[in-house]
Symmetry: C2
Subunit: 658 residues, 2 copies
């Protein structure tokens, strides 16, 4: 057993969970699906999360809200207690109505399994073939009998001694080769870049004196609308030597892609946005070079991926028609470019590759995710989702793919939600509700007093309230429930998550019906997009075999809850994986295996883009999805069964508040 892990047994639920040494006891309860009243988010303010430590050791958890007798009896505040050994913890009777809670706890938190690139697998499968390769060559020195041109000498030697064919030397190499050969006694290292299309030319992009074959590096960059991430990759070992991220400085000129496009249309705007994003990329490159200590001369390639607008701004290609019907991007594929021509602060020999786009709103970041996740190689019918302000979805397998962008709106990032906020300190990110008292258990990022709700918290709240009958399938509060937390204010029904005195903001933090409605519209847009794509190819959600989530949102979302509200199609959660930053993953993969660069050209042709607004069935599917989880409950049999069971045993409207 892992020495840093402890087993915590919660009573009377009789539920066990593994917790890291020092972990929060309140979070442990949440993860175990054990509700503990805790409205203040974990700062010890509300004093409601009293638990009894029956055996084992916790650190902290003793506050002025507990008497000396409480403490000696083993009472602690769960939110301030850190697990330091195996524990037996009893939830006091005043926090539970009766034993039936034991069968009613929330489903355990379940986020997606992380699918990482497995370098060893790549190597074993023979796929670890970086598109850039260095070869050390000891060329014969010219004589009167053998005075071939220098370029012919090198190319001929590679043909004869290394079986290389279809070679072409880039002009900057031609310009310096004669000097380098003579400086190094004709012992040099040649850098070869393999063709993207098999059968095309291999480019000799650099020659260096002596043997530099052990120093060969690549850079991968994800150009996000909000953030830019870079990795510096060792092409000999395959390892990431450095990784940095930074905000996309274009934010100063517009928060989202539409406002960036509008700025780009102003005189000098395109140039400015291009310059600014290149500036961030260069800053990241500099940091990575310093961190890793590599010589910039040994960096051979850079691969970048971003959405269609970010890509066009990066390449100084005016994105004006992206934002106007009929939403035409300039290009799908871009040729390999000399990085310096874009202003990237790498050496002249460095080629920049940019991931291709499918359409105006399904861009290179998504294509990179499709490549990096292996979706394009799988037999299984897979749903790929990258959820942010815009959600992009791809459905398919190695034989076909369909994609669409859904205007989900900003609900998942806290936008349009009364107390919505990004997933930063003070955001309620996890939630549970006492099924009888409807008291909340709020957990915040940073374990501080709440100030708002982030996307993952919002989904859990709505799912929990729906399962407990606190809201109905249209997201309306049950007006009959006897709790002061559910109230009507100015004609709007809401649930008070945190009373003002327990917040950071001295206002009640509430969840309103319009908030819930916004969430339902957002999830409905995504789910109906998914259904529409499937219908277009004659399939249904029941045919889906796998879900891949990409992007920051996907790492936090509780899968079971996301299925409960109908954001994700119902599926065994073990078949859902999370790939993190798919754009960066794809860019890195392209650096390590040339097959990806080759395959992506076909893949991008294979992906059929659907403009949902132009697809007849989309509106019907959307309307049908504006319910929790959906009009058609047969699509969600697991949830239906859970709801049916609960309704039979505990019709919530009959419960009286303690």
């Amino acid at each position: 057993m892992d020495m840093g892990m402890h087993t915590v047994l919660f009573l009377p639920h009789n539920r066990k969970i593994q917790v890291k040494d020092g972990g929060s006891l309140l979070r442990a309860a949440m993860e175990a699906g054990v509700h503990v009243n805790a409205s203040c988010g974990g700062e010890g303010v509300c004093g409601k999360c009293r638990v009894i430590i029956e055996s084992g050791v916790v650190e902290g958890g003793i506050t002025e809200k507990l008497t000396a007798k409480d403490v000696s009896d083993g009472y602690r505040q769960a939110c301030l207690s850190m697990v330091k050994s195996d524990l037996t913890v009893r939830i006091p009777v005043e926090s539970v109505i009766d034993a039936s809670i034991l069968n009613m706890q929330s489903t355990p938190r379940c986020t997606a399994r992380i699918q990482q690139m497995n370098l060893e697998e790549l190597k074993e499968a023979g796929l670890f073939v970086p598109p850039v390769e260095k070869k050390y060559l000891e060329l014969p020195v010219p004589t009167q009998q053998d005075n071939l041109p220098d370029v012919s000498r090198l190319v001929g030697f590679l043909k004869l001694e290394h079986g290389e064919h279809r070679l072409v030397m880039d002009f900057p190499v031609i310009q310096k080769i004669s000097d380098i050969l003579r400086r190094s006694d004709f012992k040099i290292t040649a850098t070869l870049v393999r063709p993207v299309h098999p059968g095309r030319k291999t480019h000799i992009v650099n020659v260096q004196p002596g043997d530099t074959t052990s120093r060969n590096y690549a850079i991968a960059v994800d150009i996000g609308t909000t953030t830019i991430y870079g990795q510096l990759i060792d092409l000999v070992s395959g390892e990431v030597l450095a990784q940095f991220g930074d905000f996309n400085a274009q934010i100063s000129y517009g928060e989202d892609v539409i406002s960036r496009i509008m700025y780009a249309e102003k005189p000098g705007g395109l140039e400015k946005l291009h310059e600014v994003v290149i500036g961030v990329v260069n800053k990241l490159i500099e940091k990575m070079i310093i961190k890793s200590g590599v010589d910039i001369e040994d960096i051979s390639t850079i691969t970048m991926a971003g959405n269609t607008t970010m890509t066009q701004l990066l390449l100084k290609v005016n994105p004006r028609s992206i934002r106007r019907a009929p939403y035409v991007p300039t290009s799908s594929l871009y040729p390999p470019l000399q990085a310096v021509t874009l202003g990237i602060a790498l050496k002249e020999h460095v080629t920049a590759l940019v991931y291709p786009q499918v359409s105006s709103y399904v861009g290179g970041d998504i294509v990179a995710g499709v490549m990096g996740s292996g979706l394009y190689r799988t037999e299984e019918l897979t749903l790929f989702m990258d959820i942010g302000t815009n959600a992009e979805i791809v459905i398919g397998n190695k034989d076909w793919m369909a994609c669409a962008a859904c205007s989900a709106g900003p609900a998942f990032e806290g936008g349009g939600i009364t107390f919505g906020m990004r997933a930063t300190k003070g955001a309620i990110e996890d939630f549970s509700m006492d099924p009888f008292t409807f008291e909340p258990m709020n957990i915040t990022i940073g374990n501080v007093r709440p100030k708002g709700i982030c996307g993952s918290g919002l989904i859990i709240m709505v799912a929990t309230m729906f399962e407990l009958g606190v809201i109905d399938n249209r997201g309306k509060f049950n007006r009959n429930l006897k709790t002061p937390r559910i109230r009507e204010t100015g004609g709007i029904w809401e649930y008070v998550l945190v009373w003002a005195n327990e917040t950071q903001i001295d206002r009640d933090v509430v969840l309103t019906e319009p908030d819930i409605d916004n969430l339902i519209r957002a999830k409905g847009a995504i789910y109906s997009g998914c259904m529409t794509l499937l219908e277009e190819v004659g399939l249904g959600v029941q045919n889906l075999e796998r879900i891949i989530l990409a992007g920051g949102f996907g790492s936090y979302v509780d899968l079971e809850k996301a299925m409960t509200i109908g954001l994700l199609p119902e599926m065994d959660t073990s078949r859902v994986t999370f790939i993190g930053n798919g754009s960066l993953l794809g860019a890195r993969m392209s650096s390590l295996t040339n097959r990806i660069r080759q395959d992506v050209v076909d893949v991008v042709k294979k992906i059929t883009n659907f403009e949902l607004s132009e697809t007849h069935s989309y509106m019907d599917n959307y309307v049908a999805a504006l319910f929790l989880p959906h009009t058609d409950m047969n699509k969600f049999p697991r949830i239906k069964a859970r709801l049916d069971a609960r309704r039979q045993s505990h019709p919530p409207e009959n419960v009286t508040v303690v």
Copy 2:
């Protein structure tokens, strides 16, 4: 009959010749092979060229050296007489020893037939396929149902409607296409550049609003060591719209390639020479654009050819190893380049092609000549020569080619010759000698008093003196001849071409034995190079079927005389053609027919370069060629026959001066 031409009959020779209206009577005599004593070069100073106009009209020719009676008797000075009608002209008896001269006149002047590019022939043969083509396209306007990326729309349309395949759009076009399409209502002209290798990609290098298909231009440039010539070519008609030449401004940094290379090795030298040559190219381009009135936007391509050193300097590729054994150039082929990256003042979309090199001393100018002259397509065994300071020779036909550079030395350009000079005003360019008196007939460029001898004059002098037995086959003067013009000065034997008082320089203009020796060495180097190449492939000079001369020198040289001294192998002179500036011709041909661009890659691989200094037989061949015309007279049967006939009738040593 041409109205501007007159027939002149010379008596007693009974020789007729056609002369342009206003042409010099002295030159007419020379061309007819009729000797008239005339040492002053044609300014009327020596007064020796008296002739009698028996019928017809001349203008001028009356000087103070003629009495009134002379004039009324029909006497004129030939050098100042201009032909204005058909004439009968008698050469007075005092200028001829006896009638045997009638059988002994010099061979008529015979320069090479000019072989020009025949545009109509190209068109008929289907070879008029410029590598750059414009297509006017009316693209379907995007709709919600058809919102392909702009690039895909254009490429797809070209595929579907024009049968174009393997298309790739250059990045600068991608950057501007969206704007141009929308500005022009999707009616545009695309500029396509065909691949050099069939099967490779066709590049879309430009898009322009509206229909510009009638405006498509190319530029061809010859980068010579001394001069640079440019042509602006209409790719629709094939015509040359403008042509300019200028000195290569690199001359300020060294007269010949070796001194240029030395300058390029100094710090900043390479950059300076590059900048200076590009400056001249840009000046020529500007002049041609102004002259032709074309829009610079409609110039699609530039093709350049030069010797190996000029090419490397043009491309900023250090030529240092060209001048050092084992004489290694940097590259044979150079990839197509964006012209602006070289600093060429054309638009961003213009591709620059540079003719490939065979070796350090057989460069792109020669390859261009091989392509432009059609040598690479002929069945006939052909000798191609470009004679300047360095003479380059190529021997072969469509199946094989061998080449070499001969260090001929500067004799053909007047270098190393006591009174040698370039072919400018005052240079003796034509010469004849009275076979009995050994009096000269000098004709100068510009018909002014002589100041020196140019290359073509030198060849004629030596050939004439050799045929008349004035010099022997080793180039030594016959010490027995009784003429004051042959004399020994300071131990050196010489022939006085012009007495000091008849010159511009107040010194006797002479031809010395060392001068003749220099010429013999120069022609020996070339001839033996030719023999060596033939021997290497198991052939001999008798197998040659055709000679092609390129370069300025080739246009003036008297073919019969060049064969007499053994510079050219003996051959029917009708089988010798002159192509002028072969480098410019090849560059122009490449602009008009893409086949040339494709074929040149194979051709340059097909040409075997021989380093003569490394070829065992070369020195033997060289020594054998240090005679007039050669040790082996069987290689020159026509000359042998002429000499034999002359010796039998008039052994020169028996002649007494009148």
